[in-house]
């Protein structure tokens, strides 16, 4: 497994290839439908928050507050990424993202943006809510919780050894497109 530490520089991202298993440590920011639409429609991040060189994670975590007011993540699996396809390319460019974590893969526009701006799509294991929650060591901050609601907020999470697989790289390759094509051909042989 390739260790990946945030913030990530462009040459590290360019060295990653489809099929590489990575283990991510550092800060990631959750963002799903509301956040993507907001940023796409011209919304800006709160003062002082920058995702340059960073990672956005398509996830609506289950977060509870303990008796001392500390946030704790109890489930943190990925959500389906393709819903953000209309927005993702622009957000990769505007925010300077180096990686997007999610599940199910994304489309051609995102793939093109990964190539142009030096970004990768990292596929986490869908449904592995408990294993992935164990990788979250701390909740550092939360933004837009009031406006978007808890699952749709931007949660700033510290993660350690979070496992994922590069399924779309910065050289125009998509594992999703390749597996689809190979499985189509295999099925044609079986019909």
């Amino acid at each position: 497994m390739t260790p990946l530490k945030v913030p990530i520089d462009e040459s590290t991202i360019r060295s990653l290839k489809v099929g590489d298993a990575v283990s991510i440590s550092g800060t990631v920011y959750t963002g799903r439908d509301r956040v993507h639409k907001f940023l796409h429609d011209g919304g800006t991040l709160p003062q002082g928050l920058s995702l340059r060189g960073g990672i956005i994670y398509h996830c609506g975590p289950v977060v509870i507050q303990d008796a001392d007011g500390q946030w704790k993540v109890t489930a943190a699996g990925p959500t389906t990424s393709i819903r953000e396809e209309p927005y993702q390319a622009q957000i990769i460019r505007d925010l300077g993202l180096r990686a997007v974590i999610g599940k199910g893969g994304m489309g051609d526009q995102t793939l093109a943006a990964c190539k142009e701006f030096g970004c990768v799509y990292l596929h986490a294991i869908g449904g592995a809510a408990q294993v992935l929650a164990e990788c979250v060591t701390q909740v550092s901050n939360v933004y837009f919780r009031e406006e978007f609601g808890s699952p749709e907020a931007i949660w700033e999470l510290q993660i350690v050894n979070f496992p994922a697989v590069v399924t779309m790289d910065s050289h125009g390759r998509s594992l999703h497109a390749e597996v689809l094509q190979a499985s189509q051909e295999a099925l044609a042989r079986h019909l």
Partner: protein, 292 residues
């Protein structure tokens, strides 16, 4: 809390946090089969770890705790309304205790009132039988995998699928192809051939009550089940769509009568987080046996 409500709460807790033995075994078998050192193998390892961790912590396997589907076999004369009330109370309590996520949204207003109760949630299917026991089976059906389900009307021109078993085979395999890894595969298919549109889907889901190693008593359907399973696993879609040998863990197919005018094939896809458990209950409501 009534004894019945307590038993149903325990059924919900166990269903949400533990996969049944037959599913666990199928996942371990597939882990053996995958090539060592591949991303398919590592995906299955993480799935296996997750199963262990959820059980140990008694926390939901997946954060999407799914549609809540009860299947109840009951003696003639059982008070179904009282049962329904107890089931609702158990769902509410399971939600407050975190065994179920606040997961039910008003389709018109978008409001989630955090109870998991509302039209269609939970869904209860009652079936009378001539026996004194009450058997309750529960399936929690995730949304991501529900989204890749499909219904075909035969004949299907583009797929060249006619109104016969080879035609059924073509459309079922097409559903597997379209789903790729998007339903959190490796998956399990529940299929119904025939019926009207809604009944057909309903019967396809009921196939999830069967255990994975069981065999279909109908030889033609048994052959189709084995064939679709083996063929799907040769497509190379693999766990999470990463490529690999394990695309499906099981295929369960039933056939019901249809009108001469229609021929539906309904395919429901269940993710690896296959949550299904069942109990038999004494008249007092106490659990007498776990069914899976």
């Amino acid at each position: 809390m009534s004894q019945l409500q307590a038993s149903l709460l325990d059924l919900i807790r166990r269903t949400s946090t533990e996969v049944p033995d037959d599913v666990n075994r199928a996942i371990l078998d597939s882990l053996e089969r995958e090539k060592k050192g591949t991303i398919a193998e590592s995906a299955l390892k993480i799935i296996d770890q997750n199963i262990g961790l959820a059980k140990q912590k008694s926390q939901p396997l997946c954060q999407d705790t799914g549609s809540i589907l009860f299947y109840v076999d009951c003696p003639v004369g059982m008070d179904q309304l009282a049962f329904e009330e107890a089931a609702h109370a158990a769902v509410l309590e399971a939600t407050q205790k975190g065994f179920l996520r606040q997961n039910s949204v008003n389709s018109l207003t978008g409001v989630n009132d955090g109870t998991n109760l509302g039209p269609g949630s939970p869904t209860l299917h009652f079936h009378q039988h001539r026996s004194e026991t009450i058997a309750v089976r529960l399936v929690l059906k995730g949304g991501g995998c529900e989204n890749v389900g499909a219904q075909y009307s035969l004949p299907h021109g583009p797929l060249k699928a006619g109104r016969d078993l080879p035609g059924c085979r073509k459309v079922i395999l097409d559903a597997v192809l379209q789903a790729q890894g998007k339903g959190c595969g490796p998956g399990i298919l529940g299929v119904c051939i025939g019926g009207d549109r809604s009944t057909s889907y309903e019967f396809s889901k009921k196939q999830f009550l069967r255990t994975l190693p069981d065999r279909n008593p109908d030889p033609a359907l048994d052959e189709l089940e084995q064939d679709v399973l083996n063929t799907a696993n040769e497509l190379g879609i693999g766990p999470m769509g990463f490529g690999g040998k394990t695309t499906l863990l099981g295929v369960k197919i039933c056939a019901i009568n249809r009108l001469p005018a229609s021929f539906f094939v309904s395919v429901s896809y269940m993710c690896w987080a296959f949550r299904r458990h069942g109990v038999t209950l004494a008249p007092s409501g106490e659990i007498t046996q776990w069914l899976y």
